[in-house]
Point group: C2
Chain length 202, copies 2
């Protein structure tokens, strides 16, 4: 095949794909905030949440973040965002892992206090995006009431996008979500003896 033929063949193939893509794009006409769930046991869920937050606020929109569980250590992503947006609504539960606190009553109180912040964000039409990092655990541990959480998410402003991260997302949360990605661990450096490192893992 000459180079010219190869280029022609490539062009024909691409025109076909372009037409298929164009048809799909034509069908997608609705514009509104969506519910995104990033679940699964692999690395990248929280990073994906924060990556989407900066994608949103990089265009000049407003966003808010509540971090459940995490927050006993200083997260690089939060430090970075606060350099540009020190006023971004932000709350961290700051308890750390349940196996370190070993105090269910205090964990529930901290979850409920964090939820007050989350609920306020879910009712705020000025926020185009709200990240509820690690919220899934609050539901699987039954630290927060499922119906209350689902209801607050369902009744949020129509243009607000919500991102929920964490393993084992509750099936009712998945049911009301628009986009659900399961981040599956194929390999993890930690399992081959590499420790959690600053800048990579927090």
């Amino acid at each position: 095949m000459t180079e010219e033929n190869s280029q022609d063949k490539h062009q024909q193939k691409m025109q076909k794909i372009q037409s298929t893509v164009a048809k799909r794009v034509d069908k997608a006409t609705e514009e509104r905030g969506i519910l995104i769930v990033m679940t699964g046991n692999g690395k990248g869920k929280t990073c994906a949440g924060f990556g989407n937050i900066i994608r949103c606020i990089g265009h000049g929109f407003n966003a808010g973040v509540v971090q459940f569980i995490k927050g006993t250590w200083e997260a690089g992503e939060v430090k970075f965002i606060q350099q540009v947006r020190p006023d971004m609504p932000y709350h961290a539960m700051k308890t750390g892992f349940t196996w370190d606190t070993q105090d269910k009553t205090a964990d529930i109180a901290a979850a409920e206090a964090a939820w007050v912040h989350a609920k306020a964000m879910l009712a705020n039409p000025d926020l185009q995006m709200v990240l509820l990092d690690e919220l899934t655990y609050m539901l699987s541990y039954q630290y927060l009431d499922l119906d209350e959480v689902l209801s607050a998410i369902r009744n949020r402003p129509v243009d607000q996008t919500v991102i929920v991260t964490g393993r084992s997302a509750h099936k009712e949360l998945v049911a009301i979500a628009d986009t659900v990605s399961e981040v599956r661990e194929e390999k993890h450096a930690f399992r081959s003896g590499i420790k959690a490192q600053i800048g990579i893992d927090w």
Copy 2:
């Protein structure tokens, strides 16, 4: 069960988990840059890459980004990062999708030009993290030489972490990776008629 008993039981269970986790943490002693691959067909791969970049530079480290394919439109995440780090090494291929360019020769030239930037970053010991967004497609389309790409990644500075994103990661790339997450699409808003939206999708 009284509340006190429940609290005791919780504490015992958490102590057991804590001890298991501690043993695993003790085994993970190596500190070095890692290769992270975010692949699969779901939403969140590029966001996870950029989320990790801000986690890294939020702690004061340096990072670089090359975006293959993407770049004909203005990405919010890049706009945001450049507000704090206008000098961050960054290159976008700026061709857009292959089915829109329909020009294999020009696409290959653009891929090779982008690769020059990537290769320089992979040889730069001042960069703690390098994101090669959508690089996987350059390998599956055979726009870049697999051996050259693998060799540059393998021979990078020992403390540099590299993140590669994109669908269908080459099996040889997966083989040399430390952490591989497969982002599986369970649901996608686009398929239920919601268009790609600013702040969410770019």
